[in-house]
């Protein structure tokens, strides 16, 4: 399956959950894309050093989607956010799923009926494909809880549920 990631989802998985190696493994069988805009947002982040950027580019293929102008009104005619590029790509490539965690972007993806998941959905997929061990899952829970990065309580509850359920 192909996935295209928004910035916050990529940060949660790569930095907060420290899943670089697992995502690299996942990317062998699945195409993981980010639009250039998301890479730009990632690079602007606090304490991002050149090796982080190199890792980011190893995990994600950076692409330049064509902007779907039909989306512009929904983003108040502003193309500066990552989500508009993520959804643009998914609209042109119906097999590709959007990975978005911010509620607003998720609402727009739903409105346009694109495939949609979030960081938690990717963690579930990593677990299903046995790329994540029980120990990895325990560590993820601790790391995310300690992180100051914004995640809604609903997402945290879902993460707790995944991390506490046994591997099948």
């Amino acid at each position: 399956m192909d996935y295209i990631f928004d910035t916050s989802s990529a940060i949660v998985l790569l930095e907060k959950c420290v899943l670089r190696n697992q995502l690299l493994k996942f990317s062998k069988a699945n195409k993981l894309y980010v639009p250039t805009r998301v890479l730009e947002e990632y690079v602007r982040g606090e304490n991002v050093n050149p090796s982080d950027i190199a890792d980011f580019k190893k995990v994600f293929s950076v692409i330049n989607p064509t902007l779907e102008e039909v989306l512009l009104p929904y983003f108040n005619f502003d193309e500066s956010s990552g989500e508009i590029w993520v959804i643009s790509h998914a609209l042109r490539n119906p097999g590709c799923g959007c990975v978005i965690d911010e509620e607003f972007g998720r609402n727009i993806a739903t409105l346009f009926e694109t495939k949609l998941t979030g960081a938690i959905g990717i963690i579930m997929e990593l677990k299903r494909q046995k790329i994540l061990s029980d120990d990895d899952l325990r560590q993820i829970r601790v790391k995310v809880r300690k992180s100051r990065f914004y995640l809604s309580k609903k997402l945290l509850r879902e993460l707790d549920k995944i991390c506490s359920s046994p591997q099948t």
Partner: protein, 189 residues
């Protein structure tokens, strides 16, 4: 097309009123109060970048006498009913909405649906603030904006957490950078 011809529903104001009242909001409710009716249709026009309905900037921002008058006409024609302070479609109104769906493009319907999903379940304060910020020219003559703007540190996070704006917009409206805005949220529902 009987109801459309009989009740002049080819008028944009009447068509949009009927269609807006036929759609679910995020809480699966169709009913709308007068403020949310005006703001939903104003938002739709903003999305369309068209001015088919006559709106003026007044105390509560963009409001329309044209919508008000047509809403009264629809009530007189028994297409719309008023229950408490909420407007709802009658059975005849619902039938008219079905006819009207066929006369509007998929994109028009999606935009109107989105406008209602975005604001109909917001409180009046959240709705007014959202619209003032989204369409700044509606701040002119407003009696409410200055007071609401003072409350932006409460209203912007609420709109973000409810998924009505993204973090880029939230940061812009809060006057901080995106990271500062997201850090300020802590972890919440």
């Amino acid at each position: 097309m009987t109801l459309i011809i009989d009740y002049g529903l080819d008028s944009p104001a009447r068509a949009l009123l009927i269609l807006a009242l036929s759609m679910n909001d995020r809480t699966k409710k169709k009913e709308m109060d007068i403020v949310h009716i005006h703001k939903t249709i104003k938002y739709f026009e903003h999305l369309e970048q068209k001015e088919t309905i006559d709106f003026s900037n007044f105390k509560l921002g963009g409001v329309s006498y044209e919508l008000h008058e047509n809403l009264e006409t629809l009530q007189e024609c028994d297409l719309v009913d008023k229950v408490g302070n909420k407007y709802v479609l009658t059975k005849k109104g619902e039938k008219a909405a079905k006819e009207l769906l066929g006369t509007h493009s998929e994109e028009e319907i999606r935009k109107l649906k989105f406008a209602k999903l975005q604001i109909n379940d917001l409180t009046q304060k959240e709705t007014l603030f959202f619209m003032y910020m989204l369409i700044p020219e509606t701040q002119k003559y407003s009696t409410e904006f200055a007071e609401l703007y003072k409350q932006r540190n409460v209203l912007v996070p609420k709109l973000f957490l409810k998924g009505r704006i993204n973090s880029t917009t939230a940061a812009k409206w809060s006057g901080v950078d995106e990271k500062t805005f997201l850090d300020s949220l802590q972890t919440s529902d």
